[in-house]
Symmetry: C2
Subunit: 332 residues, 2 copies
DNA sequence: ATGAAAGCGCTAACAG
DNA sequence: CTGTTAGCGCTTTCAT
């Protein structure tokens, strides 16, 4: 009863009266094996509770099905959604997602580099700060890397990235359609690649039409940052009738700041648009107009890029844009 | 230049002029090796870009550092926080978290069971529906399983679980202190173990004091469920002055339903307490009184239990309660 | 279709 | 302290 040792292919082979190779073939999808041998083996395996040992198998094939997901700020709604879809897409495609969360960049280097010991099949990065050195090392070891909404890396690497120009245009149109003509945009100091892209794109669009646009710095991309920025920039905001917050967390903060701290009415005094379409944007207390990033499509694309790269390591790096959809709600 | 093959300990050994065992020892923490040999090896390894192959290493030691985190509804704020802390605690303790998200139980069985092929060091379950069969299999393979806020499993298995009695008491006290005497509690139909515990505990506390407590069913544990339940139970709610929502998502929904759909004032007409202390509970539009589950301590405890079990597989199953803290805000 | 043999890259006795 | 030896559990030619 106390059967601690896991049964091996050897045990199964003996019980089924075949060779270990036969057992191996039985569990290898395309291998040629007679139906009744297979049945016999399966029976024996079932009886023993045999499971192939992925470690041993991977050792031979020099590659695991392990894919690292590198994500910071996992407790943030949009990031959580991204990771959820990424994990699912990977699993559906036969991979096994390893989760690396890293909020301080310095934790990351050694960790990630120790991950590489697992012969990763790939790595997907949604972190704010992908440490360049690690990505280099992945490239060197020919581990496919897919960057989601991150700076391009010198050595290439496939990327999924929202079209910042299109994003800015959608936001601008929503605000303009709501009647706004004097704009402001909340610009986090830790601007990640696409945040910067849409903030700058938005400002340029306004300037292009000779419309004023104040760029309001705020510290970080959190709810608290959005809220406190409202008080800090109260004067500037007094001149505006259309505000773009670089993401929904900031937007929710801004909305509360505007309404509760500044006593302004939204959308009465000022229209507001966020970005990402996190769940809370749809909650009645916010009912925030925003732009939806489709995390699911994003994830599917990322896995697809990774798989392609795995098959064709030397293909040129690809850049794909997932779809973006305006979600007009009560703040415009 | 085109050095595709990863260098092996053999390569390093040759370059450094030592044996493969020496190389192995060099990368094994407690092994005895001369300082200058070690230096030589490290130099050679650095030059070649050598990394130990975890797969091979684990094959020998019959165990990986891989720990599966089984989580459903990852895009839910509290779950995301749990997973974040779990991942971090595991990594800090030298493990590698594999993320299995499963929203439909049926996906899960085969997946998890294929995970076992990786010789998991352990498994941590926060899913709503831990499939019993898989847990059984883990037990059989002597893979430590830690259940977080889940039903006890017949075969044992260590558990981290909030003290539902204490939880109910904290909530009851908050509501009672706010002057409430006629209670209601929102009871999701998919009641998970601890949700059921606190809902029932709360009701019993009220009954124990001969105070009325209406148990209001709602479908699920989401914001939408909380909100729609308010309209549906408007009549019953008219009689109440204290509502307990089994979690913050429900509570936020209830708050919006109460204020915006029913036109009731909170806390004026009725006090409200949620559970978990998700980030949104602190947002100005909600400012929700709640009870904090400390995800970080929870995670630390889980990893600790797992590690103990690993060292001592036959110790009796443990049950630990993480701390709980009332967070009084604007709804009481 | 099947079995024998030869490793994948590493570690762990065991001598020296 | 170091090298030799013997595997971990599996897959994969190569004959048969």
């Amino acid at each position: 009863m106390a059967e601690h040792r896991r049964p091996t292919s050897h045990d199964v082979a003996r019980l089924a009266g075949v060779s270990r190779s036969a057992v191996s073939r039985c569990f290898t999808p395309g291998a040629s094996i007679a139906d009744d041998t297979k049945a016999k083996i399966l029976a024996a395996a079932g009886q023993l509770g045999y499971r192939t040992n992925a470690l041993a198998r991977n050792l031979k094939s020099r590659q695991s099905q392990l894919v690292a997901i590198l994500a910071s700020r996992l407790d943030t709604p949009f990031r959580a959604r991204q990771v959820k879809h990424l994990a699912r897409a990977l699993i559906d495609d036969g991979f096994r997602p390893l989760l690396l969360t890293a909020d301080q960049p310095e934790d990351l280097g050694p960790l990630l580099s120790s991950m590489l010991d697992y012969n990763l099949a790939g790595m997907i990065v949604t972190s704010d700060t992908p440490p360049a050195a690690v990505i280099d090392e992945c490239q060197r070891l020919r581990v496919p890397v897919v960057l989601i909404n991150r700076n391009p890396h010198p050595d290439g690497g496939d990327r999924i990235q929202l079209d910042t120009g299109a994003a800015a245009a959608i936001v601008f149109d929503m605000l303009y359609a709501a009647g706004a003509r004097r704009f402001a945009v909340l610009s986090p100091d830790d601007r990640t690649y696409t945040v910067k892209g849409r903030v700058d794109g938005f400002r340029d669009l306004a300037f292009g039409r000779n419309l004023p646009c104040a760029v309001l710095p705020c510290d970080g991309q959190s709810y608290a940052a959005g809220r406190s920025a409202m008080t800090r920039h109260a004067a500037a905001l007094g001149q505006c009738d259309g505000l773009f917050a670089a993401n929904d967390l900031l937007a929710c903060g801004a909305l509360d700041g505007l309404r509760q701290d500044l006593g302004r009415s939204v959308p009465g005094d000022m229209a507001l648009v966020g970005f990402d379409d996190i769940e809370q944007a749809g909650w009645a207390a916010y009912d925030l107009s925003t732009v939806r990033q489709d995390a699911r499509t994003q994830a599917t694309m990322a896995v697809e890029l990774m798989r392609n790269r795995l098959q064709n390591p030397d293909a040129p790096a690809l850049l794909k844009h997932p779809p973006l959809d305006p979600v007009p709600r009560g703040t415009t």
